[in-house]
């Protein structure tokens, strides 16, 4: 049985699907759902993602069939057809994508039968049954990608050795998704590859449509987008690799080596790029030499959030910044196989650190783990707790941080106490940004 969850950090498959579609250029999601679904999800998608806003077509602009009691009794397919027809007239997009909520699933509406009637029209109308009670936001992301790869990406028998696709950075759930995709794309460019990221700045639907000719799919995650990669391989014959999201020198150098190896890039070329990037990276970190050491800015850290970020932040803190990220709380709903893959991404630290990693979806559990990892003061005179400490997590950790009197940097979803525009934490440059943000926090708390 699935667990009840205290303050979940994700919404349903429908929510994940909407977030994913509205992050594609000029794509219009069409909700076939109760009237409230879109409104209910808007705050999670737009407000909790560093005030991401609704993109081109989000929030209350989302077309929705708004089924109510009568449709539930008599079936909603007629209403859906009418809604699609009129959406094509009113909404200005290049791709229309029907996604479904719980109610229409339960009454058995066949959305595929309805959308099939729009086949051959000037504009593509896709559909995915984003059965909300079957999974969360990440599942919705997978379903949308799978549908795009099956029904939108065109067959390309001839592959282009110089092009790759990259995904696994989930729009909105990764609050810094757009910046991160841009950083990863430009790194691969330096390695000699054109990259389709589908959701990044400057991407087009044409790129997505032609992505079948890529020679490799790079899934930057040990948890998300892997099922979609399998579909891509099955339909278009493009192999995939999974690689952890990289932040800072150690993470990004590993990333480049893994990707370089999979693409058959000459080792010397990869190492040369890494050396060049380090030459730009360390002179900035060098500036911290005085303040870091004069003021003893090493900290213990608790890292809370999704698998992508927790492993990336932990490696950055451990190996780039020389901190002690000793406790990691992974808050996703993961299967046993996923958990194993995720666990494997925490390790082989240059620092030799062996953090404690726990899986727990409940927001208020975090304080309990901190107390267990750094035992509580029982009134003894000589006592060593979570100090000096920092929490890298989400806005949900605000109370916990207050309780332990440590600073909190929100980096993982949800984030509603920072505004995020084009900031990126991925790559070498992202590592510097993270160092700026973390150490600014420590400086401000002096």
């Amino acid at each position: 049985m699935s667990k009840v969850i205290e303050r979940p950090r994700y919404v349903c498959a429908l929510g994940g699907a909407i977030g994913t579609i509205q992050s594609l250029p000029r794509a219009i999601p069409i909700l076939h759902s109760s009237s409230g679904c879109g409104g209910n999800l808007a705050g999670a998608l737009s407000g909790a993602s560093g005030y991401n806003g609704g993109n081109y077509c989000g929030g209350q602009a989302l077309p929705s069939s708004n089924v109510s009691e009568r449709d539930i009794v008599f079936g909603g397919e007629g209403r859906l057809q009418e809604q699609i027809e009129n959406t094509l007239k009113v909404m200005d997009g290049d791709l229309y994508f029907v996604v479904t909520g719980c109610m229409v699933e339960m009454i058995g509406d066949n959305v595929h039968a309805v959308t099939k009637r729009f086949k051959g029209e000037k504009l593509p109308v896709l559909a995915a049954e984003t059965v909300s009670f079957k999974g969360n936001s990440y599942y919705g992301y997978e379903l949308v990608l799978e549908t795009l790869f099956r029904d939108f990406v065109e067959p390309a028998p001839v592959k282009d050795a110089g092009t790759v696709n990259l995904w696994g950075v989930v729009p909105m759930q990764d609050v810094f998704w757009k910046g991160n995709l841009g950083v990863l794309k430009s790194l691969l460019k330096k390695l000699g590859y054109e990259t389709n990221t589908f959701f990044g700045q400057g991407e087009t639907l044409e790129n997505l449509k032609n992505s079948g000719k890529a020679s490799l799919n790079i899934v930057v995650s040990d948890a998300y987008g892997i099922e979609a990669a399998k579909v891509f391989e099955e339909v278009h014959g493009v192999p995939y690799i999974t690689v952890p999201l990289p932040i800072g020198d150690h993470g990004t150098s590993r990333f480049l080596r893994t990707v370089g190896k999979a693409l058959g890039v000459d080792d010397i070329k990869v190492e040369k790029l890494i050396q060049e990037e380090r030459k730009a990276y360390y002179p900035y970190l060098e500036r911290l030499a005085d303040v870091y050491n004069d003021l003893d800015f090493q900290r213990y850290a608790t890292v809370v959030g999704d698998p992508n970020y927790t492993q990336a932040v932990t490696r950055f803190l451990s190996d780039d910044l020389g901190w002690l990220p000793e406790l990691i709380v992974v808050t996703d709903i993961l299967g046993e196989e996923q958990k194993e893959r995720v666990l494997a991404s925490f390790g082989e630290y240059e620092s030799g650190l062996r953090p404690e990693i726990v899986f727990d979806e409940d927001a208020s559990s975090v304080g309990g783990y901190i107390n267990r990892h750094w035992p509580q003061n029982q009134g003894q005179k000589y006592y060593k707790g979570f100090a000096p400490g920092v929490i890298i997590g989400s806005v949900m950790e605000r109370d916990t941080a207050e309780q332990f009197k440590v600073p909190l940097l929100p980096v993982t979803y949800p984030i509603s106490n920072r505004v995020v525009l084009n900031r990126a934490y991925a790559g070498y440059s992202g590592g510097l940004t993270l160092a700026e943000d973390i150490l600014s926090l420590v400086v401000a708390h002096r």
């Binding site: 409104g39 209910n40 009113v90």
Partner: protein, 512 residues
């Protein structure tokens, strides 16, 4: 009104024949509404909106020392995520030790949908009790448990014997109504049934001497329940309390940001004072019927005219007209002087407002008073309470019959089309639609705000200063207007904004 003995309240389509799709003028709406058939119209193209669950959480998730259980698949109540970690700030304005938002989602899976979600509901309620020991556990029921037929009330009755927190079931399935405001009825229904009144089996009845009893009754005779709303700020509350205290009344504030215990003695009051009929009619009618407590419901104290009306209604109940007229005279004289300089600035400017029927009509009156011409209004829905206010508005504001009136929650495509045609100098909007208008380049004044003052006399001055400030530099939105695009085809703006409102059913209802 006597729905309290039922498990769930009726929807507003049935109870108030509330309308959710209309396009015309203020004058036409006033006429059409009286024929009583507007409720039957619908849209053939629609955009998303909120639901009962959404609005129920908006109304009562702020309750202190409570935990919410959302019995649903994982996405329902997702709107709360943006308030996690933020909401506490506003709770603390009412109680320093407040802890902020806490909720548990039962995360219904496919297995639960087939075999029933009752076990998960038990698990969630017991977890809420065990982890947080709250005073109340508010259980919100979404679409799915309603369709699979979970016996929510049965389980919660049984659980109540095992937990010390008061359990409040709030039935708010989204698909049952398109009028989101039905949520208010669902919440009040749950609160009245489960929080109001002392539980004499748990606490011994208070024994008073005859003298103490007289004193107690005297206090009750001067006590009013001031019914606040989720969109009200603490400063708004303070302004209304200031005015009521000036009339020597004791004030108890309910239901937003309240503590569960605040409801226990809510029936020990002389009068219920509402600021919004949309929000409170269900509550005050039931309180009148169950406890004989009369109420004031007509209008919201926004703007001079409506604040005066609101105070006079209260005064006439307590028979303190003379004292109240003195207060009104002193307050309005002072205020009129203070807002005089703004009138020159606003003269000839035009405005468009959108939001709840009660709030927009009164705010429009306020802006009219400051010198604005009101070009149009968009109400979330429209019912008999709106009808009364609209008629008062038509009387108070000359030449207002020709102004546009559009009804629909969300439906920003209609708004975008309308704005492209009537181009006001100022857009006043409810949360959720302002971003859309901003991308059309309009200066925007938010219709309400958790950090600002809108109500009472002070509110008039505050609104004037903020509108004045916003009109001084609208560059941000102007830039957006020039450099962004709303997701509609150019051809849409050439059409009638009400193209997709289908009122054939209402015409049929009228003939039938």
């Amino acid at each position: 009104m006597d729905y309290i003995k039922h498990k769930v309240p009726p929807v507003r389509e049935d109870r108030l024949m509330a309308c959710q799709a209309y396009g015309g003028t203020c004058g036409d709406l006033s006429t059409e509404s009286k024929k009583g058939c507007l409720y039957a119209s619908k849209r053939t193209f629609s955009q998303t909106q909120g639901c009962q669950l959404n609005l129920s959480l908006g109304m009562i998730s702020s309750m202190r020392d409570a935990v919410m259980v959302i019995h649903s698949p994982i996405g329902c109540g997702g709107n709360l995520i943006q308030n996690a970690g933020i909401n506490k700030v506003f709770q603390k304005l009412r109680q320093e030790s407040a802890v902020g938002l806490r909720w548990i989602n039962t995360n219904l899976s496919e297995v639960d949908v087939i075999s029933g979600g009752e076990a998960k509901l038990r698990q969630a309620v017991l977890k809420a009790e065990r982890e947080f020991r709250p005073s109340a556990i508010l259980v919100f029921n979404s679409c799915v448990p309603a369709l699979i037929g979970d016996d929510i009330d049965g389980i919660l009755d049984d659980l109540q014997k095992q937990v010390s927190a008061k359990i409040v079931p709030i039935h708010c399935e989204g698909f049952k109504t398109k009028i989101q405001a039905t949520a208010y009825d669902s919440v009040y229904h749950g609160l009245i049934r489960n929080l109001v009144g002392e539980d004499n089996t748990a606490t011994p009845a208070v024994i008073r001497t005859p003298e103490e009893e007289i004193e107690h009754q005297a206090k009750i005779s001067k006590t009013v329940n001031l019914l606040n709303v989720g969109s009200m700020s603490r400063i708004d509350e303070e302004e209304l309390v200031r005015l009521l205290k000036a009339l020597d009344l004791n004030v108890r504030i309910l239901p937003s940001y309240s503590h569960p215990d605040d409801f226990t003695y809510a029936h020990e009051a002389a009068l219920n004072v509402s600021i919004c009929a949309t929000h409170d009619d269900y509550f005050v009618e039931h309180f009148k019927q169950m406890y004989g407590i009369p109420y004031v419901l007509r209008t919201i104290p926004i703007g001079i005219a409506n604040t005066n009306k609101w105070l006079r209604d209260i005064a006439s109940f307590f028979g303190i007209e003379e004292q109240t007229e003195k207060l009104i005279a002193a307050e309005t004289a002072e205020l009129k002087q203070a807002i005089e300089p703004f009138k020159a600035q606003f003269k000839g400017k035009t405005a468009f407002l959108t939001g709840g029927e009660v709030r927009i009509l009164t705010t429009a009156e306020l802006l009219h008073n400051l010198g604005f011409e009101i070009l149009g209004l968009r109400g979330y829905h429209f019912d008999k309470y709106g009808e009364i206010l609209l008629d008062e508005y038509l009387e108070d504001v000359p030449n207002s019959e020709k102004a546009i009136f559009n009804i629909g929650s969300g439906q920003v495509f209609e708004q975008a089309n309308l704005l492209s045609k009537i181009t006001p100098d100022l857009f006043v909007g409810h949360i959720g639609v302002n971003g859309s208008a901003a991308k059309q380049g309009y200066p925007i004044f938010p219709l309400f705000g958790q950090s600002d003052d809108y109500l009472g006399y002070k509110g008039v001055f505050e609104v004037a200063t903020r509108v004045s400030r916003i009109l001084k530099n609208a560059s941000f939105n102007k830039n957006l207007g020039k450099n962004t695009r709303l997701p509609y085809r150019d051809s849409w703006y050439e059409q009638d904004p009400f193209t997709y409102i289908d009122d054939s059913a209402s015409v049929a209802a009228r003939i039938g």
